[in-house]
């Protein structure tokens, strides 16, 4: 039996959350959709529930608590919000995998903001995050 992984997804829009969640449709995991303003995220969560039996989703407005609970964190927030989000989650992201989705693939800024996390930068959302997060 494999313990279910919990993945925190921090995005600047419900559409981005939906695109990331789609990569987890066939995974046995808990997805926590995190945003300051959660309007529109409930629809994403409901859509995932319809599409997947194995992937459970929840919407939360508290990023720190969500990332504290998570085994891995995926961020797609835009450069201007990176610093604010990093300062909120820094304390609870130690030693966790943090995947930053940004068009600037050489960006080392987030790793500097989260020095004790394992930051991976991607230019686009992959079809699966399994290789990065691990499935054990």
């Amino acid at each position: 039996m494999a313990t279910k992984k919990t993945i925190a997804v921090i995005t600047s829009s419900p559409a981005k959350a939906s695109a990331i969640a789609d990569a987890f449709l066939h995974e046995k995991c808990n997805l926590l959709l995190l945003a300051n303003e959660t309007d529109g995220y409930d629809k994403v969560s409901a859509a995932i529930k319809k599409k997947s039996r194995s992937c459970k989703t929840e919407v939360h407005h508290c990023m720190k608590d969500g990332c504290w609970e998570a085994d891995a964190i995926i961020m797609d927030v835009g450069r201007e919000d990176e610093e604010d989000v990093a300062s909120l989650i820094k304390e609870v992201a130690t030693q966790k995998v943090v995947i930053n989705i940004t068009h600037d693939c050489d960006d080392k800024k987030l790793q500097q903001l989260l020095p004790y996390s394992r930051v991976t930068t991607l230019s686009e959302i992959p079809s699966s995050f399994k290789d990065i997060i691990g499935d054990d």
Partner: protein, 195 residues
């Protein structure tokens, strides 16, 4: 988040602020919800966990589907399947949160780095392992020689405040007796205390 960890470490070894700051960078903060698993049978235990808040139970399930509780882990306790953690072999145990928990987890790799960078942790983990061995030995002898009532009274002495947090059926499972026997023992003890 790290106060209890620091307190517990400092009870055994002296640790400077710098050393503790380094130590903090190796631990993974993790929240578990009630009934969520830290480890499930068949998985390799990748972490040793320190309980900052909450309560967990470690248990095995036999071929008849009966649960046998090996350990309750309260605040300030460490929890892991050491055999699986150290040998990277599939675990025979399950570790489940009985309440909402806040844990600090460390991987074997980080644990080894900690021992390498701060050798005083060798002493800390040696004493921790010694204490664990003593408790396990006492429990084994108790299981072989004590009456059910003695087992229960010793459990209550070693786990004060447990009655409010652990259901009776789980205490019975930990003691290796049925919940009916536990209920009878508790009634007998209550009767004796009235006299």
């Amino acid at each position: 988040m790290y106060e209890l960890l620091r307190k517990k470490i400092s009870e055994t070894i002296p640790l400077s602020d710098d050393e503790f700051e380094f130590c903090k960078t190796l631990f993974i903060p993790k929240k578990l919800r009630k009934r969520q698993y830290l480890l499930q049978e068949g998985d390799v235990d990748r972490y040793t966990g320190f309980v900052e808040k909450g309560l967990l139970r470690t248990y095995a399930v036999d071929s008849k589907g009966t649960e046998h509780i090996l350990q309750f882990a309260f605040e300030g306790w460490w929890v892991a399947d050491l055999a699986s953690f150290l040998r990277a072999e599939p675990s025979m145990l399950n570790i489940e949160a009985m309440e909402e928990c806040e844990l600090l987890l460390i991987t074997k790799q980080s644990w080894e780095l900690l021992l390498q960078k701060i050798p005083a942790f060798e002493k800390f983990f040696r004493i921790l392992t010694q204490n664990n061995l003593i408790v396990t030995q006492k429990r084994l002898i108790g299981n072989m020689s004590e009456t059910a009532e003695e087992k229960y009274l010793n459990f209550m002495k070693d786990h004060p405040g447990c009655m409010q947090r652990v259901p009776q059926r789980m205490i019975a499972s930990y003691l290796g007796i049925t919940k009916e026997t536990l209920s009878r023992i508790r009634s007998q003890i209550a009767e004796k205390s009235k006299k």
